[in-house]
């Protein structure tokens, strides 16, 4: 095992990796951009190095320099940032520092999403139908021609990143270029890479994901499956494991495909094989994520396996500690991504000081976060604030607990999507488990509570208003003194 690990990331995933290292007794080295100086991952690590280059967390050279200077024997890149950058991986490999995850060679192969699909196809497995190549934002004519060849409806996808930012459904040629430009800009903002490709759309569809672990000794196991179909504002915000409404034989077939794909690419460490499921229940390989997933907690809850711990074990060259028969898929887990954003104002990000913060507790509830009361949500980074996961022996128990945990969780000072998550997990389409990716675009109506509850809330609002205006007599915002306070707020679709 290693002695000291550099964590080439920030936010909750850096904190998660510090925890896994501590749990193994390994020393940790954090890095930070100046604006992240007081961040939790810095506080919790044993050592912390400032990144002075303008690229900061995204600068592979400075990252490697810190690794050499601090004398670590391994680097954990987390997800996002430079976690999938083959040139960074190669540089680490050449410097003799272990980088947790697949090799630079494998990373290069799976990073080429179109090429990866073609390779899986060539191996005789069902895949989605992508365009033959990728496109820059200004290749309109070529894009139109390729779209014509694939046929509509089709999906635009970003070359970098996941199913998220940049992904958009196109029904006809008239809208293709506009949507493509927007996708490209979104991908550029999120991943610093505006290239896109096309894929024949599958409607209705579900995203089924299979996490796998592979060691350096040829052993590969899967850790079940989860459904990642539910997005809002281009982000997967809910995942559940196992994916609901799959027959045992469907599940078995998907797992078998996942293991075959993992063998094909020689995947090592923790990776995720992603599939699209069509309305008839057929699955099609879509892509490989060669790194820890944001939602890996959902897997940890149903397997009782600490996935980050296993990543470190595997990277150290140790054989897998479990074979497939020893992986017990137990119960049900639901994962919610809590963002610092206002879903009632077009998902406007909401940085600032967290004035109150209370986590849910009790059995089978876990929250991973870099936040706490008094912490600052920085302006510069992603809005991911906290990750909630709950477990239940049955799906119903899990649903009930997820609802309770969301109700208990309290964050103020900034806006969050907690109330949106509550709406989603109590929606009949979610509770029935019959949802597809179409659920991501469903317009949600905020249900009106019974009149007696509204009456109570009115009394509370009145009393609170009077208390606040009395307390802040001199500093009352103008809005309070003009009589009406209103704002038209509807949940965007």
């Amino acid at each position: 095992m290693f002695q000291k690990v550099l964590i080439a990331n920030r936010g909750e995933i850096a904190v998660r990796i510090v925890r896994a290292c501590r749990d193994l007794g390994l020393a940790t080295v954090a890095v930070y951009e100046p604006s992240d100086m007081g961040a939790l991952h810095v506080r919790l690590a044993d050592e912390a190095y400032i990144l002075n280059s303008p690229q900061g967390y995204r600068d592979p050279e400075e990252m490697l320099a810190v690794a050499l200077r601090s004398g670590v024997d391994a680097i954990h890149p987390g997800y996002g940032l430079i976690s999938e950058d083959p040139s960074f991986k190669r540089a680490c490999e050449e410097a003799g520092i272990t980088i947790v995850g697949p090799t630079s060679e494998v990373s290069t192969q799976v990073r080429d999403k179109v090429g990866a699909i073609q390779r899986v196809q060539a191996a005789g497995m069902p895949t989605t139908r992508p365009s033959t190549r990728t496109f820059g934002p200004d290749e309109g004519a070529d894009l139109l021609a390729e779209a014509q060849r694939l046929g509509y409806p089709l999906v635009i996808k970003s070359c970098a990143g996941g199913h998220g930012r940049g992904t958009a459904l196109v029904h006809n040629p008239e809208k293709l270029l506009d949507i493509a430009r927007r996708s490209s800009a979104q991908a550029q903002a999120a991943y610093r890479d505006g290239r896109i490709y096309l894929e024949a759309a599958i409607i209705p569809s579900r995203y089924i994901e299979v996490p796998i672990l592979g060691d350096h000794h040829g052993n590969i196991i899967h850790l079940g499956d989860h459904d990642g179909s539910i997005q809002r504002n281009t982000r997967k915000i809910i995942s559940e494991a196992p994916a609901p409404n799959l027959s045992p034989s469907q599940r078995e077939a998907i797992w078998t495909s996942a293991i075959a794909v993992a063998r094909l690419f020689g995947l090592r460490g923790a990776c995720t094989i992603e599939f699209v499921l069509d309305g008839a229940g057929n699955h099609f390989f879509s892509e490989v994520k060669p790194r820890i997933q944001v939602e890996h907690l959902v897997t940890e809850m149903i397997t009782h396996i600490d996935v980050v711990r296993e990543q470190l074990h595997i990277a150290a060259g140790l054989p897998l500690r479990l074979d497939q028969t020893q992986v017990h898929l137990d119960g049900h887990a639901i994962f919610c991504r809590i963002n610092a954003e206002d879903p009632w104002r077009n998902y406007l990000p909401s940085p600032g000081l967290i004035s109150a913060f209370r986590l849910p507790g009790g059995p089978s509830v876990r929250v991973d976060t870099y936040a706490y009361a008094g912490a600052e949500v920085p302006v510069r980074y992603d809005s991911l604030l906290a990750k909630l996961v709950v477990w239940g022996a049955e799906r119903d128990e899990c649903l009930q607990r997820a609802q309770r945990a969301l109700q208990e969780m309290h964050i103020s000072g900034i806006q969050t999507n907690l109330s949106l998550l509550q709406l989603l997990i109590t929606h009949p389409e979610f509770t029935s488990g019959s949802y597809t990716t179409a659920f991501s675009h469903l317009k949600l109506n905020n249900p009106t509570p019974p009149p007696s509850q509204l009456r109570d809330l009115a009394a509370i609002a009145a009393l609170t208003y009077l208390n606040r205006t009395r307390a802040a007599q001199s500093t009352t915002p103008t809005a309070y003194t003009t009589g009406w306070h209103r704002d038209s707020r509807r949940l965007p679709q």
């Binding site: 009632w344 009456r455 009394a459």
Partner: protein
């Protein structure tokens, strides 16, 4: 005695408040003529998580900064408060000034000076926290101020556009 009209999720309630709480901490409040005993968290400190007890019903509530929404386990509701002692009601929506809602970089400017816009029309794209955020016109009118150009860094509440 204070009198307010509280509109929650589109429903109006006339609320009268007797200002002195009893020894248990409950205040007598009349809502549409119905008498309720209400206790709320004694201070609205920013770090406090606000709670209330109405009769024997327990609530935790979260108001946004301007008390324009109320959240509880029963959902997220629009809120309008009209204080009948504060004089004539004036809707706030008449303001055509568009300020930066968060710090960020102007990724795109979708309008020009003197252009006519309709309410809700996208006018700017602000990049912040790795997202492209569309800013829409708060009302219909003509662009009379335009302080935003592509690539510009803006600070919180910086005036970007005025619509007259």
């Amino acid at each position: 005695m204070s009198k307010l009209i509280i509109n929650i999720a589109g429903h109006d309630f006339e609320v009268e408040v007797n200002k002195s709480p009893d020894t248990d901490g409950f205040t007598t409040v009349s809502v549409n003529g119905e008498t309720l005993r209400v206790a709320i968290a004694p201070e609205a400190a920013p770090t406090a998580i606000e709670w209330a007890i109405v009769g024997e019903r327990s609530y935790e509530v979260l108001f946004d900064r301007d008390m324009r929404s109320i959240q509880s386990v029963h959902g997220h509701h629009e809120l309008r408060i009209r204080d009948l002692e504060a004089g004539v009601a004036r809707p706030r929506s008449g303001d055509g000034r568009v300020k930066a809602p968060i710090p960020g970089i102007i990724a795109n400017v979708l309008i020009e000076m003197e252009q006519t816009v309709s309410a809700g029309q996208p006018i700017l794209v602000l990049e912040a926290m790795k997202m492209q955020n569309e800013i829409t016109a708060p009302r219909a009118g003509t662009i009379t101020t335009l302080n935003a150009r592509r690539g510009q860094t803006v600070t919180l509440h910086e005036l970007l556009v005025e619509i007259s």
